[in-house]
Amino acid sequence: MTEVSIAVAEDHGLSAEEFERIQTILGRMPNLLELGIFSVMWSEHCSYKSSKRHLAKLPTEAPWVVCGPGENAGVVDIGDGQVAIFKMESHNHPSFIEPYQGAATGVGGIMRDVFTMGARPVAMLNALRFGSPSHPKTRHLVAGVVAGIGGYGNCVGVPTVGGEIGFHGSFDGNILVNAMCVGVAQADRVFYAAAAGIGNPVVYVGAKTGRDGIHGATMASAEFSDTTEAKRPTVQVGDPFKEKLLLEACLELMAGDAIVAIQDMGAAGLTSSSFEMASRGGTGIELDLDQVPARETGMTPYELMLSESQERMLLVLREGAEADAEAIFSKWELDAAVIGRVTGSGRMVLRFDGTVVGDVPIAPVAGASPVYDRPAEPMPPVLAVAPELVREPVGTVAALERLIASPELCSRRWAYEQYDSTVMADTLAGPGGDAAVVRVHGTAKALALTVDCTPRYVQVDPVRGGAQAVCEAWRNLTAVGAMPLAITNCLNFGNPERPRTMGQLTGAIQGMAKACRGLDFPVVSGNVSLYNETDGRAVQPTPGIGGVGLLDDWSRRIEVGIVEPGLQLVMIGDAPGWLGASLYLRVVCGREEGMPPPVDVSVERRNGDFVRGLMDEGLVRACHDVGDGGLLVALVEMALAGGCGFTTTEPADVATGAAWWFGEDQARYVVAVAEEAVADLLHEASASGVLARPIGHTGGDQIVVEPHGRVAIDRLRALSEGWFPAYMSGLDRQTS
């Protein structure tokens, strides 16, 4: 075995201090296996050492929260003895190196986090960020990631129902691939990962262990450089068929009483799963590594412990339940083996070839990893952009056309038509709307699901941007008629050793915490991905929010599309006309500047609750939140979704036309209501302290913007649908 030295420790991504600390914990020099274990467990990816103390500031509780952060996924009560279990996770680094497998295994990993808790996965979402469309790698990365997400999720048979895709030059060297999985379980059949019961068997099930993915977690905890290509062997290869078998076998076993604890083998493989289970249970584990099903001969204990081979689970069974488990696993043609026992020693003892090859205490490795309070520096202040100072380079309708045809706002059909969104036959609203709506199988209920973040806001003002992401998720759920319940988050940032990046992280968490508190919308699970940075250039900070809401009666869900003529369009919320950091400024004016729009959580809540009240009264025929691109883009999205046109008129009292039509003021919705309901609506609004304003009416096959002009829906549809396929087939230069 290699002699362990400070140089070897540094190769493992450990600092000199951390290496000292390991020697103090053990009272001796670690051997290579033990060093490898410490290195992955103390990697940023597994230990959250830079973010932990800040994450503690996020609200995680509400009466409907069954289990918050710390387990494999968050659990919320959805009534009738059922719970929703969900989490979002990043697979950024591997997806950049090997887009198909990186994205595919990201999907597989997050599914396992959900079904390991006893839930059947019922929906997948994803949030993707790519570099500039003109960057030579972007097309290849988009193609690979989208195919990988589809290839995995489609095979397992869980519908992919929503997501978002963004493009920006800051992601040229580091793309973001965040996947969210949502499952449903019986509240009294939720499984946790605390190893208990001294003497109970520790069982390995799933794919055999190979040499793939060794040190994946360590890779995800360092910046990229031009040697990144050499890291390809650290990317794992997914087998969705195996995942499907594992899913069915686990759920079948979970119907009985055989399982004491269960944990999937994700990042850092057997190491993190065994340490985390023992740590949560306050127990020890003894593993006989000779028993681990291996794909190749001659694998060393180091490789067996650090492999990130996919589609594997670790279970603690009730003693005597081995035969029941074996019968189910062999029915599903899965390799399974008893590889150890739970002990009361508080230590992980690893045997191989008859001798002890590793012996380390659990608590200091798993629960007491280093925690850093890294210096944080706020972003420099930025001036607001006064609407009067924004010169409009083109007219309103031409600006609208540019926005609708832009990479940021155009239709994502090219991507989501590669995802099976209808399998399981419960998808009521799939990709392309506000939030997706998925029926809870066999019930009157449905879950509303969304993923949201506006990185360009977070970049300029992390506090505001963090709050905005939470508010937007809450708003999207509200717009379909759901009661927002809770979120999962996936925090994608650059190198935390840079004070400015730390400032972005702490600021975003501060903003998120404030919004979550104000909206009763707690964080129940999450993931942090740092070091999204190449050669010193970091990504735009992207604290992605995955929101989950509940509809008690799915038949009362509200659609985004306007389908009938003669309805009145009413804007809920105030619109002073905020153009700073807007897409109008970026896409139409070519300016990336200005403060993002202010976020007032109490107004957000008041407006959303008001809209939900209108829905409860049965007044709302269609609803859409106003987000990227502003009011006119929101209206056009409603027209494109439903196929009916509208006429809208610019009020006389607006700052400028561009500010009114394209400002990105927050906490806004457009609702379509019957003409006779408008007076009551306005009355109720003013009684509730909510600003509401009629802005037009539906009808025709044109979009009429008085006094600026008109455009046919069909033309806008062609513009919206055109960019993505043209770009992916290499024709973008002709269209842009």
Partner: protein
């Protein structure tokens, strides 16, 4: 009508198909595991969508050689009705119960969308609830849905009315836009679109329910 739904390792539309049968018949279908060698006494057998055995060889190739498929073939030979959807269609062609084969989509990518179909033959137990020429909407979700057959076979299918459904806007390059075919005896139907996902307006359409109701009527 008594129905059975076969599950292979990797099937993922078996539950959906069972739900659709249950909704049409009022009876919970029997679930049959791939390793079984006999079918229960039923009137119709459903071969569901998914990725049987991972579809790592050719789609449906391994499932076509599974123990239960021998029983399904014997059942079909005696006139029992067999419905194969998506992967089930692929399995039935691989098993020789239906002519032709399904290969990679012409666009090379997985295709998931609602498509319009034309009902070509309403004189089968699966399609009698429609009139030939009816336009219906069903979702497709497949990577290998491109129907191919030699010219003689295609000519035979067309001449005998074995083409059950045709795409209005061919999403996968299928020969003659064929979306579903029957055997000569009309008791075996395979189609790539998913009728079991279109059994209620809330799901985006209920045209698929007509197929299941047709079966119930045919077997009444």
């Amino acid at each position: 009508m008594r129905a059975a739904v076969v599950t292979f390792p990797g099937s993922n539309c078996d539950r959906d198909l069972a739900v659709a049968f249950a909704k049409a018949t009022g009876r919970i279908p029997v679930r049959v595991w791939h390793a079984e060698t006999e079918l229960p006494p039923v009137d119709v057998v459903g071969i569901p969508g998914g990725f049987s055995y991972g579809d790592y060889l050719r789609s449906g190739a391994i499932a076509a050689r599974s123990p239960i498929l021998r029983a399904v073939a014997a059942f079909a030979a005696k006139g029992g009705r067999v419905l194969g959807i998506c992967n089930g269609f692929q399995v039935l062609t691989e098993a020789g119960l239906l002519p032709g084969a399904l290969v990679r989509n012409a666009g090379q990518r997985f295709v998931s969308r609602w498509v319009e179909l034309r009902v070509e033959n309403d004189a089968t137990g699966f399609t009698a609830g429609w009139r030939a020429g009816d336009r219906i909407r069903l979702p497709v979700a497949h990577h290998d849905g491109n129907y191919v057959a030699d010219e003689t076979t295609l000519a035979h299918l067309e001449a005998t009315g074995a083409v059950a459904f045709r795409y209005a806007d061919n999403p996968n390059g299928s020969a003659r836009a064929i979306a579903g075919v029957c055997n000569d005896a009309r008791n075996v139907l395979g189609l790539m679109p998913h009728p079991e996902r279109a059994i209620g307006a809330e799901l985006g359409g209920s045209d698929g329910a007509v197929l299941f109701r047709s079966l119930v009527a045919a077997l009444a």
